[in-house]
């Protein structure tokens, strides 16, 4: 099997991740509740994960690292805390439903800026025009469909100039691209634990500069007499029992990423991308490719005269795992003109080899000829 659906979830993990999850299930209790050994062991593990994440993303305090169940959860917390009905909210033309649906549910007046794929200048011009008078900007760091790396630092600068808060969706960039929370100046950065950070599903992180309103209310192990959630992080946003086993696995995922190095990981994936593009350049597939520095390890393609899902099924039958369709991101497909067809998406990981990419290309060429 060749697994190229890492933009959905990174199924291939370091061995230490599963080991840590099993150890936590067998030996750890609930953090922040008891004072006994299994509870304190869990507390130590959870804190270590906060501290590792704070180091990786240059966050001042471990308290600003809030554990969520996924990126969508974090985005819902941030958006629901900041948006009132009728507020003008500017988003990029490459957002996922995890951004657009919470905004729609909050009754936001959504304004889309930057519809041109791999065109930063046009995108920034559009943002500069539309950001005025808005209450919030929500922007993905990397398109989950096309791997387009959006110029989030420049967008952040525009936000600061207009005193507009900013939420970044780092679902496709955390663990793959450098994210410096301190210099990025975003109010919130939401990310999953189970993609580039190589942790288990059911884990996510919301990095907070502000203290938002909680989305869930319940036990926090602190200020128990009060019937309101604590005013401080992370307790304010972490009602109920934490996913200690998942967080233990996430800790090992983050440790792997830090040890291997973000720059080495993106360099590896860009080499795979270059190889795949060069192998398929003479085929009938339409490839969505930007300049090297503008694209992460995600490649979308369109087969000629064939349904995307049919191609994905043919690949699956040959043991190649990809994702086809709209990838929960209709906004991005409208921007790229692929809303009718969808695309077939190949997303790489640190554990994919050039030989595997060659094999995928061989199969794709074969299917292209048969077409």
């Amino acid at each position: 099997m060749i697994y190229l659906d890492n933009a959905a979830t990174s199924m291939l993990k370091p061995h230490s991740v599963a080991k840590a999850v099993a150890d936590a299930i067998n030996n750890m209790a609930s953090p922040g509740r008891g004072g006994h050994i299994p509870a304190m062991r869990a507390a130590e593990t959870v804190y270590n994960c906060r501290a590792e994440a704070a180091e990786l993303f240059n966050v001042n305090s471990a308290e600003q690292i809030v554990f969520t169940v996924n990126a969508t959860h974090g985005l819902n917390i941030a958006i629901s805390s900041m948006v009132k009905r009728g507020d003008k909210v500017v988003i990029s033309g490459f957002e996922h439903n995890s951004v657009t649906r919470p905004l729609a549910a909050a009754g936001a007046n959504i304004v889309v800026a930057g519809r041109c794929l791999f065109d930063n200048a046009t995108l920034l011009d559009d943002f500069a025009k539309k950001i005025k008078g808005s209450k919030l900007v929500v922007c993905t760091h990397v398109s989950n469909v096309f791997g387009y790396i959006l110029p989030v630092n420049e967008i952040s600068k525009l936000c600061r100039e207009e005193s507009v808060p900013l939420i970044i969706d780092a679902s496709q960039s955390a663990g793959l691209l450098p994210i410096n929370f301190d210099s990025l100046c975003a109010d919130f950065v939401a990310m999953p634990g189970h993609k580039g950070l190589l942790g288990p599903q059911g884990t996510g992180i919301l990095i907070c500069r502000e203290v938002p309103a909680p989305l869930m209310h319940g036990g926090s192990g602190s200020d128990s007499i009060s019937q309101k959630m604590p005013e401080y992080l992370p307790d304010r946003l972490e009602a109920g029992t934490l996913n200690t086993a998942g967080i233990a696995g996430l800790l090992e995922g983050i440790r792997y990423v830090r040890k291997r190095g973000i720059e080495n990981i993106i360099d590896h994936e860009r080499k795979l991308m270059k190889l795949m593009v060069s192998q398929l350049s003479a085929s009938n597939y339409k490839l969505f490719v930007g300049r090297e520095t503008m694209q992460s390890g995600v490649l979308s393609l369109l087969p000629e005269n064939r349904d995307c899902e049919a191609l994905a099924q043919r690949l699956a039958a040959k043991g190649i795992c990809v994702r086809s369709g709209l990838h929960c991101a209709p906004t991005a497909h409208i921007s790229a003109g692929t809303i009718e067809s969808g695309t077939v998406r190949f997303s790489f990981s640190p554990f994919i080899s050039p030989a595997q990419i060659m094999e995928v290309c061989r199969v794709l060429k074969h299917l292209d000829i048969k077409n």
């Binding site: 953090p31 922040g32 008891g34 004072g35 304190m40 507390a43 130590e44 804190y47 906060r50 501290a51 305090s61 471990a62 308290e63 926090s220 192990g221 602190s222 200020d223 128990s224 007499i225 009060s226 604590p230 401080y232 992080l233 992370p234 307790d235």
Partner: protein, 83 residues
């Protein structure tokens, strides 16, 4: 042996404070605070036996003092201290 408790607003805050003190060469334990000292309900505290003044000064310097401080008497009673 004298034991001091520095109350913290949360477990994570206690852990951050403990890491800071450990980096300064001060050994502390994060413990569940006695219920009678926890004005808001449950909370955690830093427990230490030595270098109490240095610990307090280090926390103050890093703006990480959040709660009251106590010394345990020979009878086991906790008495609030204000260094």
């Amino acid at each position: 042996m004298t034991q001091y408790l520095i109350m913290c607003r949360s477990l994570t805050y206690a852990q951050s404070s403990a890491r800071l003190l450990e980096r300064s060469g001060i050994t502390v334990n994060v413990v569940k605070a006695p219920q009678t000292l926890s004005s808001g309900g449950c909370t955690y505290a830093l427990a230490l036996q030595k270098k109490f003044d240095l610990a307090v000064n280090t926390l103050k310097k890093n703006k990480m003092i959040s709660g009251k401080m106590f010394e345990r008497s020979d009878s086991g009673e906790y008495i609030e201290v204000k260094p």
